[in-house]
């Protein structure tokens, strides 16, 4: 069973917050869900302080962002979601990020953005289903 903790355990071994962010940025360059696509306003996640675009097709999420950190974070979430079981997807929320220690890296405004991302992903998934 896929565990978020296992997927990103390297991140949490890093003590320096800047190193954690660098890990996230690096993840964004290799994440399978980070893909080039035509950015349009329909795919823009509302409520993010930084621009983030997410698409859903063939049961897979892909994402793009201007910010290297946001791209890495969104890539982590989309990668995890793409591999998760239905049960894991249903229980996934902003609290999952809090449980694994990612929340301190996100200011309240950015937690709102991540929350919007998760909610949008669930809506997109339901819409396609």
């Amino acid at each position: 069973m896929l565990e978020f903790q296992n997927l990103y355990e390297d991140l949490f071994e890093l003590e320096e917050a800047m190193d954690k962010y660098e890990f996230i940025m690096e993840y964004g360059t290799t994440a399978s869900s980070v893909q080039e696509f035509e950015r349009n306003s329909n795919d823009l996640i509302k409520g993010c302080t930084s621009s983030l675009w997410v698409k859903y097709s063939n049961s897979q999420f892909t994402c793009q962002a201007d910010s290297a950190i946001v791209k890495g974070l969104a890539g982590m979430i989309c990668d995890w979601y793409n591999q998760a079981t239905n049960t894991q997807r249903q229980s996934f929320s902003i609290n999952t990020l809090t449980d694994i220690g990612l929340a301190p890296l996100l200011s309240m405004g950015r937690q709102n953005g991540v929350n919007n991302l998760i909610n949008t992903m669930k809506v997109l998934e339901t819409g396609e289903a």
Partner: protein
């Protein structure tokens, strides 16, 4: 001066460099807020001794502002409000109400609060005054457009110090030019109050917020030329009148006529002691600010303008504003980034990327600036690997 700000004792691990957005708070402001809340009463017309005590503080606050700014009639000239945004809105309403033939000349370094209220006023023409290469208002551009303008009434709205540029506009010259055209003048003094010395006499309206001057949030001032006391208030209501009948009203004759409703007494109560500190330390504060501008200019790279006071901005070389603010936040360094409520100018300067802004106050040290600019360079190096 730093030891008068409890924030730094409480949070020695934080480097606060967002003072242009809001300053940290002087110790007396914190103490006086508590004193007010444990002896809370309303000002004006209370008739009891607690109310009289608050009344005295209210009037003392205005007298102290007068002493600080060098004006002799503060009860007629100082209007308390919720902040500079309200002050500028009210000024623009007073200046444009019942005018149907007027043009507006707004400084190109405007904060949104200085220009948005004009959008619905029905002006003939709105000219944005160009900036020189050094980031101050190009007053030859202002003069040229004033000369050509045919409107009966001309309104000049400028910032004393740009919240993007950190440069000082020539208010003396602007006052002179305005006088030649009998123009109405509105000054946004948010970034100049408590940082540099300006003579604000001779302007129709000068607005600022106290939360940027080591004071309380939710309180601002609009300094008005006494001639505007002849106008009816923008927000008529209780507290603005001396007499009311079923059909008529008589407004107060001093600046209180523009303060309908209960003012933010909790905040006003803190001003006398804050102003004592500002008056006593004025020369030190101004010298310290100037010295930090020199340090910032030496350390900063990719800044569109050399700072003269209070703040410096820079265009990120790699990545986005969010990347930088998050990475610096990871080092407990608080800086601001984005459009800085001056979107047209920031978009032009940064080619739509936004700007990073480092800003300081009387409590900021040279070492904090060095720490921040070192961190910005480190962040840039880390981001550059992935973009």
């Amino acid at each position: 001066m730093r030891n008068r700000f409890p924030f730094f004792k409480e949070h020695p691990d934080l480097t606060y460099l967002d003072s242009a957005a809001t300053s940290q708070t002087l110790d007396t402001v914190i103490t006086d807020t508590g004193t007010f809340l444990t002896y809370k009463a309303n000002a004006h017309r209370s008739g009891h001794s607690m109310g009289a005590f608050i009344d005295e503080k209210y009037h003392t606050a205005k007298e102290k502002i007068g002493e600080w700014l060098g004006i002799t009639d503060p009860q007629d000239r100082i209007v308390f409000n919720s902040g500079a945004t309200q002050g500028l809105y009210d000024a623009i309403q007073l200046a444009t109400r019942r005018q149907d033939d007027f043009s507006v000349f707004v400084g190109g370094d405007f904060h949104h609060s200085l220009t948005l209220p004009f959008h619905s006023t029905g002006y003939n023409h709105c000219h944005y005054i160009k900036l020189t290469e050094s980031g101050v208002l190009d007053l030859s551009d202002l003069e040229a457009t004033l000369r050509e303008d045919q409107s009966e009434v001309k309104i000049i709205a400028v910032t004393a110090v740009g919240n993007v540029t950190g440069t000082i506009n020539d208010l003396e010259r602007i006052r002179f030019i305005a006088g030649q055209y009998n123009a109405i003048t509105i000054v946004d003094a948010c970034q100049s109050m408590g940082k540099i010395h300006h003579n604000y006499e001779g302007f129709d309206f000068v607005a600022w917020s106290w939360h940027k001057v080591y004071g309380p949030s939710g309180l601002g001032c609009l300094m008005i030329d006494p001639k505007w006391l002849e106008k009816a208030p923008v927000h008529p209501g209780g507290g603005s009148v001396s007499a009311v009948s079923y059909l008529h009203e008589t407004y107060l004759t001093n600046a209180q006529k523009f303060e309908s409703g209960t003012p933010n007494l909790q905040a006003i109560f803190t001003l006398p002691n804050l102003l004592n500190w500002l008056i006593r330390n004025q020369s030190n504060i101004l010298a310290h600010d100037k010295a930090l501008a020199v340090v910032a200019n030496d350390l900063c790279e990719n800044n569109p303008y050399a700072s003269q006071t209070g703040l410096i901005t820079m265009v990120p070389q790699h990545g986005t504003i969010e990347d930088f603010t998050m990475l610096l936040d990871a080092k407990n360094i608080m800086i601001r980034g984005g459009n800085l409520c001056a979107e047209p100018l920031v978009r032009n300067i940064s080619v739509n990327k936004g700007l990073l802004r480092v800003s300081w106050g009387a409590y900021t040290t040279k070492e904090e600036l060095e720490l921040a600019f070192t961190a910005i360079k480190e962040a840039d190096a880390r981001i550059s690997k992935f973009v």
